[in-house]
């Protein structure tokens, strides 16, 4: 697989769409006696938009934290571009949370420039002027324009609506060009109308930038509308006397073509997702 000497280049790092970017190999997560995830084995290809659904407590968030590097697997391996992940966050995986994704003490522009400044200035984490700052500023402004915040550069998050804050969080993450973008119920706190706008924005950004996205959501319709692939996490086995005995895994994994996306979620998933 990845790391090989395949001359077509399809499986190499940064290759064209279709190459495996993220690979789970028999991954288990256990907290003491409690098994959260068991036997998770799946590959995510570059350019996929993976929606992750499942009932509360079925390990959706744990799955996301694994990819993010907030925690590591108890057993098994997670590979990003063929290299095993260390349990630490890094700029190759961007994230947008449901809340608290942006820094309240920075303006919109400051929030987006943050990632660029960290890379450019190890000591201060801030560019104080000159050509490098101008270049970073321009890049940040372009990103803010792409998410529709071109007229709100100097606004603090507290003055923004929930939808604007999530737009800002997207711009902030995308300016680093992450290999994988993780969305943790990014639209859960938004009004239905705003949510539709955000679907359009995320769908557009995904196509334009050729992103690979993993999105955890409670909204099954959203999962089918946006995703090219839907993963449902749940427990395969259940011991009523020891509810923590068995962990959840991807019980449903289907790639969606255009027709399936328009048809929406199948009836069999109704029982899986709350």
């Amino acid at each position: 697989m990845a790391g090989g000497t395949d001359m077509t280049g399809d499986t190499a790092t940064g290759g064209p769409p279709g190459g495996v970017i993220l690979s789970f190999r028999d991954v288990w997560v256990e907290y003491g006696d409690k098994v959260v995830l068991e036997r998770v084995a799946l590959d995510i290809a570059q350019g996929e938009f993976v929606s992750v659904v499942g009932p509360s407590g079925a390990g959706k968030s744990t799955f996301l934290r694994l990819v993010l590097g907030q925690e590591g697997p108890t057993r098994g391996q997670i590979l990003l571009d063929g290299t095993e992940l260390t349990p630490e966050c890094s700029p190759d995986r961007g994230v947008v949370f449901q809340r608290y994704s942006v820094f309240p003490h920075l303006t919109a522009l400051g929030n987006v420039m943050f990632g660029l400044e960290c890379a450019a200035s190890p000591l201060l984490g801030k560019l104080l002027g000159g050509a490098r700052r101008r270049a970073a500023r321009e890049e940040a402004v372009r990103m803010l324009e792409a998410v529709g915040l071109g007229h709100n550069l100097d606004v603090y998050p507290a003055q923004m609506s929930g939808g604007m804050q999530q737009r800002l969080a997207l711009a902030q993450a995308l300016v680093k060009h992450p290999r994988v973008l993780l969305l943790d119920e990014p639209f859960g706190a938004l009004d239905p109308g705003i949510r539709l706008d955000m679907h359009e924005l995320v769908g557009g950004l995904w196509q334009e930038h050729g992103l690979t996205i993993v999105m955890v959501t409670h909204d099954i319709n959203e999962a089918f509308k946006l995703g090219t692939r839907v993963l449902a996490f749940d427990k395969r086995r259940h011991d009523p006397h020891a509810p923590n005995r068995y962990g959840a895994t991807a019980v449903y994994d289907v790639k969606l073509d255009r027709k399936a996306r328009e048809a929406g979620p199948p009836a069999e998933l109704a029982g899986v997702v709350t």
């Binding site: 966050c89 700029p91 995986r93 961007g94 994230v95 201060l124 902030q172």
Partner: protein, 271 residues
């Protein structure tokens, strides 16, 4: 309308706030006048006129023994001690509080000992400070710093550790190192809280200053009050107390203004 729903307008608010203050002043004026009429040499309730005269004397006349104006010498000595003590406390709070809040290893190592230090009544260690540092300025400054720093450190560490974990994760996904995270995520959000806890600590800081001055000093606001107490000089004590209150109010206003100007995002928006 229910009492809880009656919200006074600005003008009304100022008016009803003035009533109790005026009432206190009037009651005092009535009683002090009555006592002065009965006994012109009364020292316990000096009239406003007597206090005014004493205050003018303290703020304008040079003390022949020291060659300085008494109230100004006292004020500058006290404010210098206060500034040094509070400054040291604030600086160490900034360093310790952020380190404790950001780095779990530091929290594990230093959290318990700071908790222990925080429960020691500072005045109880004043004799130790006098023995170790002598009766000069160092022991007074140390008392103020030791008196307020543990609370401030714990407050700031708690605040920084309580910042949403999402922010720290996000910063790392944007490439921030521990240092950059501290400098650009934790520090700016710690500063308004530091000012807030400093404002709350100024009261105790004054208590420690005046205690230290009362016990061993030859100049200072606290020293003066406790010195003239021997002569029942209420005409000096009361203006001094008023002067200390005024200084405390001005300090608080200055800190509040600083926080609003420097950190608009922490006070409900930037406009």
């Amino acid at each position: 309308m229910r009492l809880v729903n009656i919200k006074p307008a600005r003008g009304v608010r100022l008016l009803i706030a003035a009533i109790p203050i005026l009432a206190v002043l009037i009651v005092y004026a009535v009683f002090s006048t009555a006592r002065a009429e009965a006994n012109p040499n009364d020292k316990v309730l000096p009239t406003f006129v007597a206090m005014g005269q004493a205050a003018v004397r303290l703020f304008t006349e040079t003390d022949p023994r020291t060659g300085e104006i008494t109230a100004l010498a006292d004020t500058s000595a006290s404010l210098w001690r206060l500034a040094m003590g509070v400054g040291i406390a604030t600086l160490s709070t900034l360093l310790l509080g952020i380190a404790l809040g950001v780095v779990p290893l530091v929290r594990a190592a230093l959290g318990p000992i700071i908790t222990i230090i925080a429960v020691i009544p500072p005045i109880a260690v004043l004799p130790i400070l006098f023995i170790a540092l002598g009766l000069g300025e160092a022991s007074k400054i140390a008392l103020i710093a030791l008196g307020i720093a543990p609370y401030m450190v714990r407050d700031l560490a708690g605040h920084v550790a309580g910042l949403p974990a999402e922010q720290f994760v996000k910063a790392q996904t944007l490439g921030a190192s521990t240092w950059q995270l501290t400098l650009r995520v934790a520090l700016p959000q710690a500063l308004p809280r530091l000012i807030e806890s400093l404002r709350l600590s100024m009261g105790p800081a004054w208590v420690f200053l005046i205690s230290a001055e009362a016990i061993a000093s030859d100049v200072g606001l606290g020293y003066r009050i406790f010195l003239v107490r021997r002569y029942l000089s209420m005409d000096i004590i009361l203006p001094y107390v008023a002067w200390i209150s005024l200084l405390a109010i001005l300090t608080d206003l200055a800190l509040q203004t600083l926080s609003r100007k420097a950190f608009p995002w922490a006070h409900g928006g930037g406009h």
